[in-house]
Amino acid sequence: MSDTDYPEETYAGRVLDADLHLFDRQVLDVDGEPAFAVDDIEISDVPIGLPLDPAAPAPVIESLLSGPVLATRTFGGRPPSSRLERIPWRHVSDIGTALTLGIHSDELDATWTERWVRDRIIGRIPGGRHDPE
């Protein structure tokens, strides 16, 4: 494909390369606390095997994925859609050297392992809920 094949319209905002700017980036929550890493992304359906309708709207990023999807991305295969840990794209408020969310990481389903370890193990050990001295 030569350069001229690209659509010539100009876009408002930034052009992002998913591979370079999204995949494997750290995601911080609204307080700057690390929440998760972008293990994969989910875009709206593109019909596979059919000729593309030029008038159809371009696919958009629907959600960031984190958790078990990393294993299938690394070793191959595809988890069933119901098993994906989704973080809706609308929560993303900024994209820099890390992605920033507009909500607390504790509000996300995807960070349940952190809460589980906190409530069952770390929070129960004496001193676990105090600042270091």
């Binding site: 995949f23 690390p34 690394t74 270091p132």
Partner: protein
């Protein structure tokens, strides 16, 4: 005045924190077998660790991203998972060696079996990681580690033949030594791995985030590294020199920490011995803290978990759980009765093998203006960075063949 004090403190802790069980053992072994003929490797290693520690600290201060986040971001999920596996295992080996080293040092001081000291050491490390503030931890172990300067003093007290030592530094093999070239190069790689252990950059860059460095702190961090590490390197050579003067002529092999302390006892008697034992405990304890934290840093940064000692443990739960598990695994390995010195000797060689995976991504990101803005690498840094990448790659590729050929340096 306060600034000057901060600078002095930073440099002193960098000297004290430079040495760990890997440096102590490898330099002792090398000195007792090869004299100072491998001194140049320490020099090459120190320049390398200065270059890359400084680079990873700069990346962390400017972009706020620690080394393993960058490794994942640049190498992608798959390659960086292989890297994580390798780095984590090498780090676990180093952690095991350091815990064993604390126990061996305490055994020298108390003559209580190291098997009894190991759980004590692991619990002490955990308590510090669990409760003590990062800056206090750094400064106390670093300053106590400074007592290892006694090795440099001992070299003078032993009245060596300076001409001999000098000619060995320039490559003249000592008369008593009859080692093959393969073992020579095997130990060259071990020394290089001991000086450039990957956990040092994981710890250094994560420490920059822990202490909330900004661009303003760059000048001081550069001073700490560029002055502190070379002085630490001189101590490494002093350890080898002590072994060269006392152990090499009598054909004494280094099989435990007591042989490494022997020249000190000969040079300075009981008081010097007490000082050096304090130094052993401080150096191994400090490094055990750094490797324990590094096990948490690498895993948490790869998976994007919350991490850091500046948070309360409940706010970085998986990070703290990782460290607890790493300590338990280290203890379990030691409980099998393996010789901690042997674990140390293998850990430095495996460090050398894992080096390219760690240092390449740092070099790439330090050149990325999206991360670094105007603080990207200068031409000189890149020139030396590329040279070191080649050295690191050669050492990494040669390590396993040499290990097989020499029977792990036997």
């Amino acid at each position: 005045m306060k600034k000057l004090l901060g600078l002095a403190l930073g440099i002193l802790t960098a000297i004290g924190g430079f040495l760990d069980i890997g440096d102590l053992v490898t330099n002792g072994v090398v000195g007792s077998r090869f004299g100072l003929t491998l001194g140049w490797v320490v020099l090459v290693g120190v320049v390398g660790i200065c270059l890359f520690a400084q680079m990873s600290g700069r990346v962390a201060a400017v972009s706020g991203r620690a080394t393993f986040e960058i490794i994942r971001e640049r190498l992608g999920a798959r390659a960086s998972m292989a890297n994580l596996g390798a780095s984590f295992i090498v780090n676990l080996m180093t952690l095991t060696a350091e815990i064993g080293g604390i126990a061996l040092s305490l055994q020298l001081a108390s003559s209580i079996s190291p098997m009894l000291w190991m759980p004590v050491a692991a619990v002490a490390v955990w308590i510090v990681v669990w409760r003590v503030k990062f800056s206090i931890m750094e400064n106390v172990t670093g300053l106590l580690g400074l007592t290892l300067i006694v090795f440099a003093v001992a070299v003078f007290l032993l009245h060596p033949n300076w001409l001999d030592l000098g000619s060995q530094l320039l490559g003249q093999a000592p008369k008593q030594s009859s080692e093959s070239p393969a073992t020579y190069w095997y130990y060259a790689i071990a020394l290089f791995g001991a000086a450039m252990t990957p956990y040092e950059v994981f710890f250094f860059s994560s420490g920059a985030v822990e202490e909330k460095w900004t661009v303003k702190d760059l000048a001081q961090s550069r001073m700490n590294v560029l002055v502190g590490f070379p002085l630490g390197g001189i101590l490494s050579i002093a350890i080898a020199a002590c072994a060269t003067i006392v152990l090499l002529p009598k054909n004494i092999a280094v099989t435990s920490l007591s042989e490494i302390a022997l020249p000190i006892a000969q040079a300075g008697g009981k008081i010097a011995l007490i000082i050096v034992l304090l130094g052993f405990v401080a150096a191994t304890f400090g490094a055990a803290l750094e490797t324990t934290l590094s096990s948490g840093y690498t895993l948490a940064q790869y998976f994007g978990w919350s991490w850091g000692k500046f948070r309360r443990p409940a706010r970085a739960a998986r990070f703290h759980l990782t460290m607890i598990i790493a300590l338990i695994i280290g203890l379990a390995v030691l409980a099998t009765g393996v010789d901690p010195i042997a674990v140390t000797e293998f850990s430095v060689v495996f460090s050398a093998i894992a080096l390219p995976l760690t240092y390449l991504p740092i070099l790439i990101v330090a050149n990325d203006p999206q991360y670094m803005g105007k603080f990207v690498n200068g031409k000189a840094t890149n020139f030396f960075g590329m040279i070191y990448l080649v050295i690191i790659l050669v050492a990494s590729l040669a390590a396993i063949p040499l290990m097989i050929v020499t029977g792990a340096g036997a």
